[in-house]
Amino acid sequence: MITRPTTAQLLGAVRTEIAERIAPAISDPQLATSLHMIDHILSTLMVRADHELGWMVEEMNAVQAVATRVAESALPGAVHVADALTEFVSARSGSAHAADVTEDYNRASEVLSRAVEATSAETGELRESVLALLAGRLAHEESVIGDFQLVGRG
């Protein structure tokens, strides 16, 4: 395996070529918009290549820890969290391949969703822990999209 330069560095080289040599030669505004989109997508891929698998594993571990506490609580929705948690733990592949981690992460997302729902009426530490999981997930998503702005129609 060649690991240096990294995937992100290779994508960076593509972005540089687009920005410095291809974009200046483009006069068609639609193509220029396409290039802008391509550059943004490449920027997100740079972050994902560097961090995506690690972040998913970290998030899954954090979800499992907090969801275990929710599942063991007396909250009305605890049993639903426990069911999803059992499925997540028993089906977790242990593989580091992206497709397998993504499947594991999807099951962890269901666990988190049920924990969000089970604690919705709570105001204490457990609820804050669940919301912190959402905040952590959002922080990773924000790191991926960077300064992306969604501009709608006028």
């Binding site: 989109m37 049920r114 919705s120 959402l134 959002l138 969604l150």
Partner: protein
């Protein structure tokens, strides 16, 4: 696709059928920018009776899928035009496609800018004036008798059924997506847990934003694009207006949200408990499932390998962008509610 050249003679025939003199001639047929899903063309009709400018709103033709029904929209617009109280350009005639080749509605042309575009180039004083006008326009819209809505117009049996349906749309989005989404589940549960006091059901626009308001030369604000009109909670229009303004500033409601709500409440007769910045913010989230669903369906198609459109790939980032908006909005509203509870406890 409607070509301006071929459309000219078809429009002449339509206008004659609707009572224009035989010598009517159509000219200056030009597309109007703005809508995503429908064809919108401006044109001039000249006859011995005079010269008038109109707008044609038509389905995009066989190659594209129209998301809404032009005949249903016409039935509503015709009823509202006959009533005369809705601030909108008059609807003149409808063709089911027999003449135009695709169903279309002809309305009066408004010779003025979109409110949103005008607001974007306005100073603070003008923005304040526009915000006041917007509150009055919304109140006037919502004062129209919802009984005028034709039978084809969606009409919930109760306020609870209406809100339940909108919350269910959030859950359905998540259930149908290609991966589980805790943010959607959070929003759906939050909406269930934070229902505001109910408001009387009114005829609402369903996609109200400053891009759908035209400024007439006499200063009136005229509301266009009624394809999503239904009977519902009037705050859905205020909320959606704020939602769109988050992407397309300026936010005329957000300039002075307390003042805006107070003015709208005064004109509409609704209480401050029913209309306030917190309840409007609730509806800005509640009504978001429709637009977000369009985004998510595109992303899901990409994930399933059904499309490889670059714009859809680019808009994957928009999903995260909206996650941030919702989390921010629900956190802010929770903080406002907590502060209010503290203030009430002090009193």
């Amino acid at each position: 696709m409607l070509e301006p050249g071929a459309l000219r003679t078809r429009l002449e025939e339509l206008l004659r059928r609707e009572g224009e003199p035989d010598d009517v001639r159509v000219s200056d047929v030009r597309p109007i920018q703005g809508g995503y899903s429908l064809v919108t063309m401006g044109f001039t009709a000249t006859s011995s009776a005079g010269t008038r400018r109109y707008v044609l709103r038509a389905d995009p033709g066989a190659a594209a899928i129209a998301r809404t029904d032009r005949r249903a929209e016409w039935e509503l617009l015709a009823a509202l035009t006959a009533d005369g109280r809705m601030p909108m350009p008059a609807a003149r005639c409808f063709d089911d496609g027999a003449l135009l080749g695709t169903p279309g509605i002809v309305l009066d042309f408004v010779d003025g800018p979109q409110l949103g575009a005008h607001a974007g180039a306005s100073d603070d004083a003008e923005l304040g004036r526009l915000a006041a006008g917007l509150a009055e326009t919304l109140a006037a819209m919502h004062a129209v008798d919802p009984g005028l809505a034709p039978a084809c117009c969606p009409r919930p049996a109760s306020w609870d059924e209406y809100v339940d349906g909108l919350i269910a749309a959030w859950r359905q989005l998540e259930a149908e997506h290609v991966e589980r989404n805790p943010f959607l589940r959070h929003v759906a549960r939050w909406l269930e847990d934070h229902r505001p006091p109910p408001a009387p059901l009114r005829l609402v626009h369903g996609e109200f934003q400053t891009g759908n308001v035209m400024l007439a030369p006499d200063g009136r604000m005229l509301v266009v694009d009624w394809e999503y009109a239904h009977v519902g909670d009037p705050r859905i229009d205020l909320g959606w207006c704020q939602n769109v303004a988050a992407f397309n500033p300026p936010d005329l409601i957000g300039l002075d949200p307390v003042g805006f709500c107070a003015r709208y409440a005064e004109l509409s007769g609704l209480s401050a408990e029913v209309v306030n910045p917190a309840t409007i913010a609730y509806f800005s989230i509640l009504g978001g499932a429709k637009a977000f669903g369009q985004l998510l369906r595109g992303i899901a198609a990409l994930a399933r390998g059904e499309t490889s459109v670059l714009t859809t790939a680019y808009l994957v980032s928009a999903e995260s962008f909206t996650h941030r908006l919702w989390m921010g909005a629900t956190r802010q509203l929770d903080a406002m509610a907590a502060l209010q509870r503290q203030m009430e406890a002090v009193r």
